[in-house]
Symmetry: D2
Subunit: 348 residues, 4 copies
């Protein structure tokens, strides 16, 4: 019963097969200039209903930091939620790749930014060069607290950002999970709502290494080949990356995988409902849950073999603890059922 | 007949099997804190006959740039050959990861640095803070021109570097090829000759993604976990990296692979010998050859299906061209034989 | 009646005379290697009752950012108040000079950090390389809200920082103002309380360009000559800087100047006391005041010729405004008296 | 007899008077937003016969590095002579401010770049993202070897640079000396010959701190206020900078000062002519001379009280030494006459 993270689980068999198949070719173009890279870009253009510029990179931190480097100068500022991955979990990579840009963090329920909060932050930066120049807005979709922005919410934030002369980045490490929750199209969740550049992640959803930077505005992609190379994010044997992307999209595997993990999360959420002393720190909209539990229950569950992390959260009572539970494309349904049964048995 | 680069070829079957096997585990620790990472470090410690600190990174550029960032500050200088990969083929990644260190390039036959040349370079930096502070020496083993430093040569350079207060880095993107040529031990080629930190590469020699930063001095590895993360060089599903390393070393596969490619290169060198108008730009000591050919022959070979790049070289006659031929672990011997036959037929 | 900033005022006559005198020498050593630079270091060693390493730089932003670069790596974090100058008024210079370190901002009354707040922040960084590595604590003395840390407060914070493996920086842009308020020795306010490196500022207190980085631990100053040069903070005609420092210290001019501006601030504070609807955002301990006024009074004062800025502050009533008033070594007492009279006349 | 450097000498009396006069104003706008800064920009626009955007910075290293940061990204390359100040004497500041751009150094007689040499360098960078992206050409006018590019030479280089998609920077630390030598207009030496951005230096020619970044293309100046601030190159008490610029230009003082130092250099050159065993490393066109002397003479001159540095130069005979002699606006003519007499007496 491992709910520690979706990246604890491995690679989906179909993707592994694609990797193996890619190995059958004796030689291939290197440095992501292979035919597969072109097919990948075309496939994503189809997915997004628009010609995109798409680049393979090596991990989510690289994708986010590189995407931001294309839209924010070293003297710029990036508005993001204080709980955003770029703020809490990428060491100082965004700062490194952008040349020293500052993260302008804001707070907000469910790890979501609101237009009001963003406006208040921007109001602090009206005195010119003494502060950073607000240049980018970064939204996590799904957020690190398992919530999802609606297209309308994204639209409102993007419009405000663009009005302030900023560009909009979306951290889509769990892009598919958000998409499945919303039931909208990839286009609606991104460029139709104002997103300029996307970190498109597949690693957490069944791939081995699958992270791409996707530009909806070609002009922003100028020099990105150089950016990727100088940031150490270019792989020589690129065929193994393009193979993953193509397999990931094929037959809707990505949505199927996300559907699986989302449904398991919903199942756990349902089991938690009504258990005495249990409440959720945020609504469950993707594949992460943050239940606040009586510490007694928290520990009992771990003792019974459920693996998960404690999540730091302000405002808890002394005898409470917040758990972070993540489901994945490969989490066995049986594990979830066992966990739900445990919750019911131990929680009441 | 593809001699463009060793990274055009794929992954050795044994390594692919190890990757597949790693996928059999339902869950594993992420972020290179898995049991495999510890086994990898132990295996390398055995290989080097000394406890080492070894870290998986994501490519050769990342390995070199990160290794250098651990031994050279932003105000420092790195002595390297003007033909070194860090100078010619890593865009500005060494500069980025070190915070702006300057490459202090020197010239030298066979892309090798000599103590005299290094001393002359250092003599330019005796005026204090107006210039960069020479802090690191970086040696490519094998070099980008297919030559190999002997342990004695490394010793002499390292001693001079250490005396000048510098640390020594070895770019071992083709470490195994150099090792096989020399027939010495990994220890003799590195720390016993004064190397402080090594980029240990396996990607060009049959792996998918296998690059490690190996410290022979534990003190230099302090904070390297942070360095790796902030440079975007940390993979979440680390099990697929450790699996490669273990398979790469197992049963001497790495040496076997390098032996194959080295022997093919030697075979081609032998075929070129005595062909009219042909000479080598550098002795063939690893898996790369740089023959200077009559341009007529150069073009005829390509026309017959041999794929390779032209190499820029000063001092050629107008009707000459320098070819770069690289053999790999998977280059079919038949291709080499065909190429050698072509050389003989077309060259005389 | 200009209370906009202390840097709106010019240079004290004694300092200007010293600059003129320095010009009398036909030639002098350049690049801050002049005899005056050595005298300056000796003079500061006497002031601090300890041999210090002291370096002229070119402005407060340069001093702070360079000082921090000596104690915080690119993957590090710097704990500071959210209202600290390094956070709000130095664009991204700290990020640039440190190579991308992150400011870990905290809140606190009077712009002061407390040990409890710092401990809570540090508790967020216990998960290793995914976040920045907390490496430095930066305290402003006096703070940007005109308050002053007592030596005991500094001691408590420094002890906690050192225990956590961090170094302590003090931003002393208004060092003299804080010192005069406390009435303690420079040593007590710095190294005896645990400060490792100080930005010693004189520009705001009567100099033209007088900012120094002062190390109390010589080991931290290693390579600082290189750091200063590569950051563009080295002046060629250094004699004009050392002349200022020596004149600034001579006969206690620095304390006299600070005494003047502090006393004027106190005078204004006294005049504001008891005025209907007026309260202070923070106690007045140096040469800055932040009175919250009825907006009507705020505007009336400006209309009568008082120049000052509005200060953004949360939690004000709709008809209130917070003013920022700064007094300087050269603010005429008559201006203050006029202002106080205005306050009394208009405020009641 | 101090010929060590022009920055060993102080400040011209007229400039000092302007500084003193600026101090007479009780208050002034700070952060280079004063009326004087606007006057300075207007004055330079008149000098250059074109509206320019001009920014005060704090030293030559800052001016060059900031100017380059506006025209070269972190993944870019800057073509410059291997003897350029940005390469040899600014530690790694250009790398820092640009975010890690690489200096692509070339050689050439008299420290001058030729179109052929530049073309050969550019030919190395045709393989895309593996190398830096050539983005800027930097010319020193006058060069560090005391030579001067003619407008036609600048035109040819600029045209080639622009054709290759690069921008052109001129390091004018000794701008006035070059201008006086050429006898052309400032416009002819800069934008009319294709220069995009200029480091306009006055410190070496009689000012205290006078370095400006001057943009001939307004679009390149976008965000430069932020760039200057985040690089720590913004002075709070800007009035002392604008005062210098205005005094420097007033009545042609800058040209008069440069005329003085140039004529003294020419005088020394004339005295050296015909002295046995003496030759010049480069023609004397500004205020620097690099005579190659018999070492005996070199030492005899120093023994007699002439102060100057030895200059590293390849290809000297064992008993030769190259001296670097710099004259300044304030070098007494009597010192030059004494030196010339010494040369004649000791040299023959």
């Amino acid at each position: 019963m491992n709910f520690c993270s979706d990246n604890r689980y491995g690679v989906h068999p179909s993707i592994m097969e694609a990797i193996i198949a890619a190995n059958a070719r004796l030689t291939d173009e290197s440095y992501c200039h292979d035919e597969g890279a072109r097919e990948a870009e075309a496939a994503l253009s189809a997915v997004f209903e628009k010609p995109v510029k798409a680049f393979f990179v090596l991990n989510g931190t690289g994708a986010n930091s590189l995407a931001l480097s294309a839209i924010c100068p070293g003297h710029g500022g990036i508005i993001c939620h204080e709980g955003a991955h770029i703020s809490t979990d990428e060491c100082n990579c965004p700062e490194l790749f952008t040349g020293g840009a500052k993260l302008l963090t804001v707070s907000g329920a469910g790890n979501k930014i609101t237009p009001a909060v963003m406006a208040a932050k921007l109001a602090q930066f009206v005195h010119g060069e003494h502060g950073a120049k607000p240049s980018a807005l970064s939204l996590s979709q799904a957020t690190e607290l398992g919530t999802v922005y609606t297209p309308d919410e994204i639209k409102a934030l993007s419009a405000a950002a663009h009005k302030a002369g900023m560009k909009v980045h979306m951290d889509g490490a769990r892009f598919a999970n958000a998409l499945v929750w919303l039931g909208c199209t990839p286009a609606e969740m991104t460029w139709k709502s104002g997103v300029d550049v996307l970190s498109f992640g597949g690693t957490k959803n069944g791939a081995m290494i699958l992270e791409m930077v996707v530009f909806f505005d070609e002009a922003l992609a100028a020099d990105f080949l150089y950016r990727r190379k100088r940031a150490g994010q270019l792989l020589s044997k690129g065929r193994y990356l393009s193979a993953q992307l193509l397999a990931y999209l094929k037959g809707g595997l990505w949505l199927e995988n996300a559907g699986h993990s989302n449904s398991l999360a919903a199942e756990i959420a349902a089991a938690l409902e009504g258990v005495r002393g249990v409440r959720l720190a945020a609504p469950v909209e993707a594949n992460e849950l943050f239940p606040i539990l009586p510490r007694r229950l928290f520990e009992a569950l771990q003792k019974e073999g459920a693996e998960f992390y404690e999540w730091p959260l302000d405002g808890l009572k002394p005898d409470e603890a917040c758990a972070r539970l993540v489901t994945s494309f490969a989490t066995p349904r049986a594990h979830v059922e066992k966990f739900c049964a445990l919750v019911k048995r131990l929680g009441n």
